[in-house]
């Protein structure tokens, strides 16, 4: 009797459990989605990313470049942009910037666009361990970043050039952390800013192998 009863219950339970499990999974998936989205992991906001290179050798002494990439811009002009990227100056030597492929408007040129001139101070960056980069269009909009000037594929704002210092060790991991980032619009409500949650940032990481 006991076995029969258990068998009957198992059949019903199987169906109930199956349906419950599916519902529970769906609810969990939804909750996770919204949690992650709220925490910006799945946010649709544009992102700025420091490229993470492949594992490096601690003996590498050649300089290397890491792209600062942009995923998208909104439908407005951004006459100014700035990034604050911190690094360990005891392990990495910042060498300067190279141009990327994201242009700003330039009414005077044949193409109507030109690469922006970023301001950066290499010495100060290595002294403080924070690279502060800024672009400012002093006309307030004639030489602005625009969605229309983005590439179809990879959009590289600029390249950060580094060299490993002699003190690096195998197994070390160095974070390139975007402390602040903003694409500033004249109407601040339309700006993309990390502080406001309207611009996501993805840090880069340098892993030292053998």
């Amino acid at each position: 009797m006991e076995l029969t009863k258990e068998k009957k219950l198992s059949k019903r339970q199987r169906r109930i459990l199956l349906v419950s499990a599916i519902l529970l999974l769906a609810v969990l998936a939804l909750v996770l989605f919204f949690l992650l989205r709220g925490g910006s992991l799945l946010s649709s906001a544009p992102a700025v990313t420091v490229e993470t290179p492949e594992k490096m050798s601690h003996t590498q002494r050649e300089s290397f470049s890491l792209a600062l990439e942009l995923s998208a811009l909104a439908e407005t002009d951004y006459p100014a942009a700035s990034f604050s990227i911190s690094f360990d100056p005891e392990k990495l030597e910042f060498l300067g910037l190279d141009e990327g492929n994201v242009s700003v408007k330039h009414p005077g040129s044949a193409s109507g666009a030109a690469l922006p001139e970023w301001s950066v101070n290499v010495d100060k960056s290595n002294e403080t361990g924070q690279i502060n980069i800024m672009y400012l269009d002093m006309t307030g909009g004639k030489y602005a970043f625009s969605k229309d000037l983005l590439q179809k594929d990879d959009n590289v704002l600029l390249y950060l050039n580094f060299r490993l210092r002699g003190s690096v060790k195998q197994g070390d991991v160095y974070e390139l952390c975007i402390d602040d980032a903003v694409f500033a619009a004249s109407d601040e409500a339309e700006s993309l800013a990390k502080a406001a949650g309207s611009l996501r940032t993805n840090n880069g990481r340098i892993v030292i192998g053998g």
Partner: protein, 898 residues
């Protein structure tokens, strides 16, 4: 539908049409553009304007008339009837009439304009006319004769005259001088009124037809109609329309409305001109980063940016231009070999360069060893370009009062110009008709010689000539087109003679000033000026032109300089590069608390920087009772490492800064001076019995090498200071800056810093002197710099600061003070691109005027203005980590109140 029974009105108008026309010559000036303003209104029915006033040029009228096969007409042939027909065609109006438009038109009805709502003014009813309750009504779609009353219909006034003939017989130019026929130059006002009762007496006109005179004193609204037709300001037009639609508006009300529509707009144009100038200069600087010798992208650009104050005269923009010019001048001088002539026949090449060099504070008599002024001793060379030569020569020579070898040259130039004045009062390159450009330039050249009676007399005629040549839109016509360059020259001439080209009645036509006219040529999305607005003569209308932009820019500079009461554009005696001797200063706080362990800072600053030195050494005399805790290098200095030693026995603090490893030269970022060089952290070792302590620099040198001949001895003669020792709480107050009213900081606002001893950093300190409660914001950056807790605030400029050193006016409590972060324009706690852009946009006037808090945050240079220097200051601070100048200044200031 045409009513057959014309009865009284038809009879009267038939009689009127038989009147002989009176031929009179219009007094309009030939240079005014012909314009007719036409309107149609039903004020007697309370229905306002059916068709609002609209201005038509002769071409526009002919174009409209051509649709129905009329014309074209010359101005002298045009009648009020044809202007009316064009107006009706333009409005697609259906109408009924008798007669024909070319000979005897009688407008009897206009379809679809009667709103059906009647609100007859009481003044008509009171004089026996219909009332709202008792009228004949309108039984069809047309509004015209006999509607609402037996003697109603359309009447026409031209220039406020109820015309004595039919409209087809009324030529605009034929009735000048007729009584009540007003003269508006070459502008004519045709108003169609619906008369309800009294044959125009109900409109306020006396037609002499025995209806007992006008029922009220009708105002002449024509100028208001002209202003309305030419205004683009919807808000002001709405206000004006209310007056226009008031049948019984008084003349005073009408005049006030004209002023509101025309005159009141004028002051508002001034900031617009300033904004346009700012945008244009920014665009120039960005698009011409390396100006060279030449007409475009050269001297005029440099002159505009220098005289407009876009860059300081010490800026590398000008320094590098000068270096390029030196090379060019040496090459040209060598190739031409004519004693400094840059061109064998064009003396204007020398003159133009002299103007630019004077504008940036350089000496044109020694440009890489070449004297650009010397060739002007040759009057024959000067006049090889005709009148342009003497004009340019006078302007250039007078920029800095350059002496010529032949002291008669200036008078020869003046005589040459005066001798070529035309009978109409102006000047031209050739011919007998004045050209606005040459007339304006001649006046610019003569402006410095106004004390000469002959010059003064000639100038008076010249200015009158320019006034007469001005078009209705405020602009000028030259070389086949209304163009911006001519207007620019007129503005520059006006300002040279102290005439405001925006408010002086001689340079306002039809409510439009010369400045208004120039701004029409501004192409906002390109931040530049067009030569012409309509294509022609090889130019594309509305396309930015480099020469037009150059001339418009320096014209606006001259206009703004007039507003600011600065030297005229070409009076460059004020363009002086500041003294460059390297001088050090030492600043201590006003007061410190006299107790063991009190720490404070001494700031050593420099008034400039000299490149090429590898080492700095300095000796500071430190009084007994003080110990040195630390010495740090200023945030803008780089290239070396700092070492110091304090010898207590002798009180000597020895400091050396150099690159021990590589021997690199020392560097400095930024251009704002004074600049913090060293910061010395002191501490009181014990209670000190003296009232104050003095610290001074014994000496400072900059060295390139071991060769003593190459060393630079820094002037330290004034590099000493004292700090007062006080017990407990004390307050000192410093004036940081007062706005100069030019860029966003009003003259009525002053920024102050209050240093407080005897409190913990960040303590809540409140000020209230019984009259004013002033919000004090704690500044950690200034406090750290000076070593004394410091607060900042904005106060009224007229307020005495005496109360700020009175302890009784303060409340010190345990709370935490609100803190200010300089550069954080948007108050989000970060200083980044958004803040730099905020400063730019504010300066471009793209936002609201800043409040006190925003002024304090954004004026990071600590000068009297918020402008692009503040934007650059934010960029430099962000990128270079440099302290804001306002912080260094505040930390180094002494008590404003004794």
């Amino acid at each position: 539908m045409i009513r057959k029974n014309t009865r009284v009105i038809a009879l009267i108008l038939t009689v009127v049409m038989l009147f002989a026309s009176v031929s009179m010559f219009a007094s309009a000036t030939e240079s005014d553009a012909f314009s007719v303003v036409v309107s149609m209104e039903g004020l007697t029915l309370g229905q306002g304007l059916y068709f609002e006033p609209k201005a038509y040029s002769l071409d526009e009228i002919n174009s409209l008339l051509q649709r129905e096969g009329y014309g074209p007409y010359e101005q002298s042939d045009l009648t009020a009837g044809m202007a009316t027909l064009a107006f009706l065609i333009d409005h697609d109006a259906e109408y009924t009439m008798t007669g024909d438009w070319e000979n005897s038109a009688y407008l009897s009805g206009v379809r679809g304009i009667d709103t059906g709502t009647v609100n007859i003014p009481g003044v008509i009813t009171e004089n026996g006319g219909p009332s709202n309750e008792d009228h004949d009504g309108n039984d069809d779609d047309y509004l015209g004769e006999f509607d609402y009353g037996s003697i109603s219909g359309w009447m026409i006034t031209v220039n406020n005259l109820m015309i004595p003939v039919g409209c087809s017989q009324f030529g605009f130019e034929d009735f000048g001088g007729t009584q009540n026929y007003q003269d508006y130059g070459n502008t004519y006002v045709v108003r169609w009124h619906f008369t309800l009762y009294g044959y125009g007496a109900d409109l306020g006109y006396d037609n002499g037809w025995g209806m007992g005179g006008p029922y009220f004193e009708g105002a002449n609204k024509d100028l208001l109609y002209i202003a309305y037709a030419n205004s683009n300001n919807a808000e002001k037009k709405a206000a004006a329309r209310a007056v226009m639609e008031n049948l019984t508006a008084t003349q005073q009300e009408v005049d006030a409305a004209v002023t509101a529509l025309n005159g009141a707009e004028q002051p508002e144009e001034k900031p617009q001109a300033r904004t346009v100038l700012n945008e244009t200069m920014a665009q120039m600087a960005a698009s011409i980063p390396e100006p060279v010798f030449g007409v475009t992208a050269g001297e005029w650009t440099v002159l505009s940016l220098a005289r407009g104050g876009y860059y300081p005269l010490t800026d590398d923009y000008f320094n590098n231009y000068y270096l390029r010019i030196v090379e060019t001048v040496k090459e040209k001088d060598a190739s031409i070999g004519m004693n400094g002539q840059l061109h064998k026949v064009k003396s204007t090449e020398n003159a133009r360069l002299i103007m630019a060099l004077s504008a940036i504070g350089k000496d044109a008599t020694d440009v890489g060893g070449v004297n650009l002024v010397a060739p002007f001793d040759d009057f024959t060379w000067i006049t090889k370009q005709g009148i342009n030569g003497p004009i340019f020569a006078l302007i250039a020579l007078d920029t800095k009062q350059y002496a010529t070898g032949d002291d008669t040259i200036r008078q020869q130039c003046i005589d040459y110009i005066l001798s070529r004045q035309l009978s109409d009062g102006g000047w031209a390159l050739s011919g007998t008709t004045a050209d606005p450009d040459i007339t304006a330039m001649a006046l610019q050249a003569l402006a410095n010689y106004r004390s000469d009676a002959a010059v003064s007399e000639a100038a008076e005629k010249g200015i009158a000539c320019l006034s007469a040549m001005q078009k209705d839109n405020g602009g000028y016509y030259s070389w086949g087109a209304v163009n911006s360059e001519s207007i620019a020259q007129v503005i520059t001439a006006c300002t040279a003679w102290g005439i405001d080209p925006h408010t002086d009645a001689r340079f306002i036509k039809n409510g439009n000033s010369a400045v208004d006219a120039l701004l029409i040529f501004y192409i906002a999305d390109k931040c530049g000026f067009a030569h012409v607005l309509e294509s022609g003569g090889g130019y594309t209308g509305g396309e930015v032109n480099a020469m037009a932009t150059d001339q418009a820019c320096y014209a606006l500079v001259s206009y703004i300089r007039l507003q600011n009461k600065e030297n005229a554009l070409y009076n460059m005696t004020d363009a002086v590069i500041p003294e460059t001797e390297l001088t050090a200063a030492l600043n201590l706080p006003e007061n410190i608390e006299n107790k063991k362990g009190t720490a404070f800072n001494g700031i050593i600053s420099l008034n400039g920087w000299k490149d090429g030195y590898r080492l700095m050494d300095c000796i500071v005399n430190v009084p007994a009772g003080l110990q040195v805790n630390d010495v740090s290098i200023g945030s803008r200095i780089g290239g070396g490492s700092l070492s110091y030693n304090f010898e207590e026995e002798t009180g000597k603090l020895r400091i050396v800064y150099f690159d021990a490893q590589n021997g690199n030269v020392l560097t400095s970022e930024g251009k704002n001076y004074p600049m913090e060089f060293l910061n010395i952290s002191f501490e009181l070792k014990n209670y000190v019995s003296a009232e104050n302590l003095a610290v001074g620099i014994a000496g400072m040198t900059m060295k390139q090498s071991s060769d003593s001949q190459t060393q630079l001895v820094v002037n330290t003669a004034q590099a000493s200071d004292t700090v007062n020792l006080v017990d407990g709480l004390s307050f000192s107050v410093m004036t940081l800056y007062t706005g100069d009213g030019v860029d966003l900081i009003p003259t009525t606002r002053t920024a102050i810093a209050v240093a407080v001893t005897g409190v913990e950093n960040g303590t809540l300190v409140e000020y209230n002197d019984g009259t004013d409660a002033v919000a004090l914001r704690y500044s950690s950056s200034i406090s750290e710099k000076s070593g004394v807790s410091t607060y900042v605030a904005m106060v009224d400029s007229s307020k005495s600061l005496d109360g700020f050193i009175d302890e009784n006016n303060y409340t010190v409590s345990d709370g935490t003070a609100e803190e200010i972060t300089f550069g954080d324009a948007n108050g989000d706690g970060l200083v980044n691109a958004q803040d730099a852009l905020g400063a730019v946009n504010l300066w471009l006037r793209k936002g609201q005027a800043p409040d006190d808090g925003e002024i304090l945050c954004m004026n990071v240079t600590g000068d009297s203005r918020i402008n692009t220097f503040d934007a650059l200051g934010i960029v430099e601070s962000f990128v270079d980590g440099a302290d804001f100048a306002v912080v260094s200044r505040a930390a180094a200031l002494k008590n404003t109140v004794d």
